[in-house]
């Protein structure tokens, strides 16, 4: 009998399997789709289509230090340096089909849901045009109201219907509604199990090293309709439970401060960012990532599914976004916040100043901002990041002393 795998080992295995299945599948003539990271994967999963997530793929290329040549290729093709670096990497990879990470197969179809930004629509249009393949679009109108309104839900459901029609046409066989029901159940279970594991960060001290979320999330992005992802999240929870019981943590050196990290990671500098924070005992316990994939709905409830996908954080109005960060800071007992002014993400950036002000007003915790980019290493300066973290630590320290003396 082999020894029980750790979550880290299982994660590695599952990630490799995810990519390998798609590569082998494509060789065997099976369909491969490329999908935006929070698109309803349930449809493709039901039809047994391999799904690759370009955002995840681009992030991995960035983290492994392979972004520059691909970015430059896209820029030579006319893509502005001001565009999202995930898009630039993916559109460059599409031509090069060679990178430092998994060489994923080109898609036979693409599925795009603009619940994280409208940039995705333009990016995917270009894939569809360049590869001359069908595009399934799930347009979830931005929620200017606090809730997802019923006319929006009806419209999104109409698109679910259209997506199924397109898939039946592409696959040449009818949609399997029983399997769909099962996938919906799995997806909801995976979402709950993911959230349960990530919520361990609320413990003080946290048994979870927040930066590990950036590793774990590969699976909630890529495999959230699959049974195996539930195993992984349950295993993570089990390990965290044990650490918590023993007063231990994945976070090395002891947690002095707890912070919320706003925005996407700076993948090319993940190691640097983590080391800088660790130096001061700063653990990133609060993040919007866990919630972003906590897509909860009952199996068979298309209204609920539409609401869940439409209500994704980036697609909500500012009032609701403020509320989300406020509750993260409170629930995860954060002492401060770091905001990533991410050169790639206009949607997150252009509300961020007001978000910072309102969240600070409500929580009273200090914050700093740094300039960076999710995968373009040219848009980040290590020194600036270090100075900002230092400033945040000083503010958090002062607050701690003040609290004690009160």
């Amino acid at each position: 009998m082999s020894e029980k795998l750790t979550s880290k080992q299982l994660l590695g295995q599952l990630t490799a399997k995810h990519y390998n299945d798609a590569i082998v599948g494509k060789q065997n003539g099976e369909l491969v789709a490329w999908s935006t990271s929070i698109a309803p994967q349930e449809f493709c999963e039901t039809m047994g289509i391999h799904v690759i997530y370009p955002e995840n793929h681009a992030a991995a290329i960035g983290a492994k230090g392979g972004a520059i040549p691909i970015l430059e290729h896209s820029e030579a093709n006319g893509y502005s340096i001001d565009l999202c670096s995930y898009a630039r990497i993916n559109l460059g990879y599409m031509e090069l089909q060679d990178c430092c990470f998994e060489n994923v197969p080109l898609p036979d179809l693409i599925i795009c849901c603009n619940n994280i930004c409208n940039t995705l629509i333009k990016w995917y249009e270009n894939i569809a045009k360049e590869l001359n393949i069908p595009m399934i679009m799930i347009d979830v109108p931005y929620n200017t109201e606090y809730e997802v309104t019923q006319p929006r839900v009806n419209y999104i459901k109409g698109q679910f219907k259209e997506a199924i029609r397109q898939l039946e046409e592409i696959c040449g066989r009818p949609f399997d509604y029983d399997r769909f029901d099962e996938i919906m159940k799995n997806s909801s279970r995976a979402a709950k199990s993911w959230k349960r594991a990530m919520d361990y960060a609320a413990y003080v001290p946290s048994p979870l090293n927040g930066f590990n979320i950036f590793n774990y999330m590969a699976l909630i992005v890529c495999m959230r309709g699959k049974e195996e992802s539930i195993q992984l999240f349950d295993l993570i929870a089990e390990e965290l439970e044990e650490l918590a019981r023993n007063g231990e943590s994945q976070f090395p050196g002891g947690e002095q401060y707890r912070i919320m990290w706003e925005g996407i990671a700076c993948w090319p500098y993940l190691g640097h960012n983590f080391k800088t924070l660790k130096k001061y005992g700063v653990n990133m316990v609060g993040s919007t990532y866990p919630g972003a994939w906590t897509l909860l709905y009952e199996a068979g409830d298309l209204n609920g599914m539409a609401r869940a996908y439409a209500g994704v954080m980036n697609n909500t109005n500012l009032a609701r976004q403020v509320e989300l960060r406020t509750s993260i800071i409170k629930d995860f007992k954060c002492d401060g916040a770091i905001y990533h002014m991410n050169r790639s993400c206009k949607l997150m950036d252009f509300m961020q100043y007001q978000l910072q002000r309102e969240v600070a007003d409500r929580t009273g915790v200090p914050y700093v901002v740094f300039d960076g980019d999710q995968t373009d290493p040219r848009n980040f300066a290590q020194a600036q990041f270090e100075t900002r973290v230092q400033a945040l630590v000083e503010m958090m320290e002062r607050n701690k002393i003040n609290k004690k003396s009160m």
Partner: protein, 378 residues
Amino acid sequence: MEKINAIIAEMNTVVSSPKKAVSAFKEETGKEAVGCLPVYCPEEIVHAAGILPVGMWGGQTALSKSHTYFPAFACSILQSAMEFALNGVYDNLAAVIIPAPCDTLKSFGQDWISAAPQVRSIPIVYPQMSRIEEGVEYLKSEFEIVKKAMEEISGETITDEALNNSIAVYNEYRKTMREFVKAAAEHLEIITPAIRHLLIKAAFFMEKGKHTSMMKELISELKAQPKVEYKGKKVVLTGIMAEPDSLLDLFAQNNMAVVADDLAHESRLFRTDVPDGEDGLERLARQWPLMEGCSLIYDPQKKRGQMLIDIVRENRADGVVLCMMKFCDPEEFDYPIFRKELEAAGIPLLYLEIDQQMPSAEQARTRIQSFAEMLDSM
């Protein structure tokens, strides 16, 4: 010519001071004015309430307060609009309608709530999947919200008759503007790039019926002018907008004329009519799926490149000038695709960066000059 010059002068007065034009309208009619952010807004609904829809496409201003909402890499239209909002420039508007076709406008709409709480904002989100019936129904529901808001502002119910009348006014405006674009192309010696832009832009600050009748007069005057063959080069503009005027003057200085355009600020607004029907809101909603070739409207086939090629051929143009609004994602994604298509069709393309806060046109001058030389040598 006198009449043409008089019309140009009158429109120039409007465009030089939109604020005055808005105040004059309010005084004359006793009705309100409502701002419309780019690109597409259901102006017919505003018009049907007797309210003046006012285009809000930024303008040249020094940016300072806008930086409390936007980092430097936001498009200059919305940077300027934010600066104006924070300086109270829009306070004479009863409300502003803010669509959300791009990420910057989504953010702008949310930022407005705290930046300019004194001016009511009415958000509207157009569907991208308008080819399915549910998309049309959804859009109709968004229009209902705008309609209700306009009724609250005007204090009067918008009848179906009023809405259908306004649609007729707008369809007439669109038809007239398409005629104008054609007539202007026949008289490039009179309709310089800057004048062409001015006449189109004036519609953003005038009641459309009034603008249309002035344009009709101008068109018939133009048609009466003797034919003069234009000796310079003819270009087609594409992009969001072609401003400031100093930029347009550079074309004239280099013997280039704008023979047609595919600008969001210009032709994209009037190339598609609202279809016939009974229910006004439904008619408006059914116009949306008919629109294409715009970077802000979903199109996996990317027809824009072919559309540009067709426009160039129809107008016997010598090249295309892309007026690239700096930091505009939708336009920046379209560019690599149509660049390839234009290249394959042998159509020269000039990439010109547009920034409303452009400190000097020097860089553009050099680029336009060399493009002119390139066209001459062909």
